[in-house]
Symmetry: D2
Subunit: 138 residues, 4 copies
């Protein structure tokens, strides 16, 4: 499975027709960035343009899973996800910078920082991913 | 702020036109259930009908925040969110059962269980919510 | 590995000469209770008799790992641990009630409730444990 | 409350007679390092010299709370704690590098990295701390 395969996998998910992410960088060591352009449909308060917490959690989910997947070369399902919301982004594009911190035989851990283009950090994400090879042995 | 006010608050969020939740029960002590009817647009793999992790995280976010809000009588923004994915639900409606475990002056904690109508549990959520009164003192 | 083997494993850890836990119930399906009798050396403020957060975290760690271990029949190392402190226990014995919520081939999830003998809940714990069989294949 | 006051607060806890930490750096902006010299009594398996998970959790707790406390100038109790164990340290001194990521009026978030003197990372910690001023208003 190549990086293009992974991008294709992301692209085919139904939910990603709504969550219109753009994978900017994707390195074989598990570092990547994803851009999410602002859209009114992502907001909880339309007037303020504040992002819904679920949208930010979704970004963390995708970026973290992708960081582990690219190291392994196959999909690594999310086992758990944790998001700390530091401040509320308003009406701006978001960027998710992900980094695999450890990718073991059964479990991987990835960190995700949610920021805007100026580097202001809005949320911190961390997750555990199931990195066991899904393909049959032998 | 009444329970109907809270439901109206949920209803007006742009993202909730996509995440079509139905608040089934909502008690003043911070217990509630939300139903999310299955929709293809929530899936990560359309064929299997498997829910995207971000959709489940969004359900946990809304249900947990609502559990603390109803106790306080005003919106309680999410400080952090944690979701453990136990098994993947496929092509079924989901229910989020939320319960406020502690609602203090500054911090609240709520538990959310994600299940189907038969009681099979797919995910466990827990979150911390900012319960400080947003209204000016005096 | 029997339940007695597990208890022996707990007993031989150096740190457990300090953290003097008593395993009360231990069932094959991953439910158990541990009692920690109060000791001045567990406190952060001696006068108030308030437990140090690290002591409570340690209890969650042991109880959660044991819940998954007893299902598997071998030690299941902690992958991550999360503790929510709801209120501060003072100068009382603590009980950790643990329950395995899911024990898969590679990952297990356990819940731990920290309470006193009257049922007052002081902390909520949840953890992920590495449930892969450590013994060589074949 | 000065930085020396904080160190004195740490020093007086009963549990810290067992957990013999040394505060190396402590800056007013919430960055600090703590050294924990290896001791047999911290191990889970004496032979391997592997640290008990509870000891590492305790280090994260103290370092994270201290990072928020030093910014605020008063004690900031732990609301929740999360530790990801990446690899098992054996028979070496540990260092906890803590950093306050956000310190608000009611809630603070701090990150803690657990490493040895060579920079090998063994665990990642993150916590939420209650930063409300405990002193009476007016």
């Amino acid at each position: 499975m190549t990086i293009d395969d992974l991008k294709a996998l992301i692209a085919q998910a139904e939910f990603h027709k709504f969550l219109k992410m753009d994978v900017l960088d994707l390195e074989a060591d598990g570092k990547l960035s994803i851009k999410l352009p602002f859209d009114e449909s992502y907001t909880i308060f339309r007037k303020a343009g504040a992002y819904h917490g679920g949208i930010i959690a979704s970004l963390v989910d995708v970026a973290g899973a992708m960081a582990c997947s690219v190291v392994k070369g196959y999909p690594t399902p999310t086992a758990n996800l944790r998001i700390d919301y530091l401040k509320s982004p308003a009406r701006c594009d978001l960027y998710a910078d992900a980094e695999a911190r450890r990718v073991g035989r059964g479990i991987g851990v990835a960190d995700v920082t949610i920021r805007d283009e100026n580097g202001t950090v809005y949320a911190l994400g961390r997750g555990t991913f199931n990195t066991a090879d899904p393909r049959p042995v032998g």
